[in-house]
């Protein structure tokens, strides 16, 4: 087959889906500040690429796209492993998973950009199901003090 052949509708739709995933991942990586969410977005973009590759593979009837996606999976795994280590290192230095915590590349006479005061979270406190009390109330568990109020 030659490149001048028209694409099948399935391939076209696959390409559109891949483009949407890629674009959404791009928005996420640009906008979100949580380092882990940023990595999730990078993976999203990789997923978009994978879908595109498989679509083209379908179009051409060639295994290359599939092989490439397998390689992308491998590289993504490697990237995730190394990058998560970096994220952990960064977190251990700043105590934050904030991409904006690293600003030392800025011009020396510019002030550090800081977030404005945020309004209080108006989420309703989580209400966990409670059982009718029976027996003696157990002593306060040390670990419960570390329990997160909100996930």
């Amino acid at each position: 087959m030659t490149p001048t052949d028209t694409l099948s509708p399935l391939v076209l739709d696959g390409l559109v889906v891949g483009a949407m995933l890629f674009a959404i991942g791009l928005v996420g990586i640009l906008a979100r500040r949580n380092l882990i969410v940023m990595f999730l977005c990078a993976e999203l973009m990789l997923q978009g690429i994978s879908v595109s590759l498989v679509s083209w593979s379908r179009h051409h009837g060639d295994w290359g796209g599939h092989v490439l996606v397998i390689l992308v999976l491998t590289v993504a795994a490697c990237e995730a492993a190394v990058a998560l280590v970096f994220v952990l290192q960064a977190f251990s230095r700043t105590g934050r998973l904030d991409a904006a915590a690293w600003q030392s590349l800025r011009e020396s006479n510019l002030p550090r950009s800081i977030d404005h005061e945020l309004p209080a979270i108006d989420t309703v406190p989580p209400r966990f199901p409670t059982l009718t009390r029976a027996g003696i109330e157990p002593a306060a568990d040390e670990d419960r003090l570390l329990e997160r109020e909100h996930v």
Binding site: T2, T4, T6, P9, L10, L12, D13, G14, V16, M20, L21, A23, I24, G25, L26, V27, A31, R33, N34, I36, V37, F39, L40, C41, E43, L44, Q47, V51, V54, S55, S57, R58, H60, G61, D62, W63, H66, V67, I70, L71, L73, T74, V75, A77, A81, V82, L84, V85, Q89, F91, S92, G95, L97, A99, D115, L118, I121, D122, R148, V151
Partner: protein, 268 residues
Amino acid sequence: MIAELFQSISPGTLLATAVTTSAAGLWLLLPRGLGGGAERAARSLGGVLSLVALGCFIATGHRLGSVGEEAVFLIVSLLAVVSAAATIVARSPVYAAIWFAMTLAGVAGVLLVLGGQFLGVATIVVYAGAILVMFLFVLMLAQPAGLAPYDRVSNEPLLSAVAGAVLLGVLSLSIGRLSAPPAACCAMPASKAALLADAPSTDAAEPGVDLLADNHVARLGGELFGRHLLAVEVAGVLLLVALIGSIAIVSRGATADIEPAAARRAVP
């Protein structure tokens, strides 16, 4: 009826509407630290706009051969795209990770429809089973209690959303033009076409049929370990290097960093 309504609109208008609404919708949906009713209202509006954008994209989509295939593709692709959008707008990184798992499920479905049987399964297994779990572990290790301030605000949400939407529009436009027969000016010069025609054909079989054969996985494996063996070896080495590298970085960081505890307390 809605489909007819959509089809009565020209593709250009549809695309412009899709770009505009997706940009506005993503901007409204992205966390901007509003809080309270304003935030709820913004997210609702953003959701509606995003749905409009999705509708536009569905309307510009193509009719597949069979209704069943079309329904399946629609469901899995919607799952993937909506979950992806939810991934990037979720305040809590844990929710984002879970939404990402949903995306993976959708992507796996899309891959299956596109004929990538092995890849669909592998995506679920490798991503959802391994990589995502790793993400969650890191989140548990690192994420402090409560909703961090940096999860409640975004970096330049409007510009980012516009950039993403414009990119999507450009890509859609390009893909849409691929479906049309090539213009005369874009036709390949005769000499080049002849050159390509003379070249030995790499795939004599009917397109798609080859990929969708019964022994799909076996043939993929044969391809992988035959023609692309070197790439597999390189990937293996890469994995090994990444493994060693991660361990090296972690162990060195553990001895080098003395102040993290203090820093953690200082910056909540």
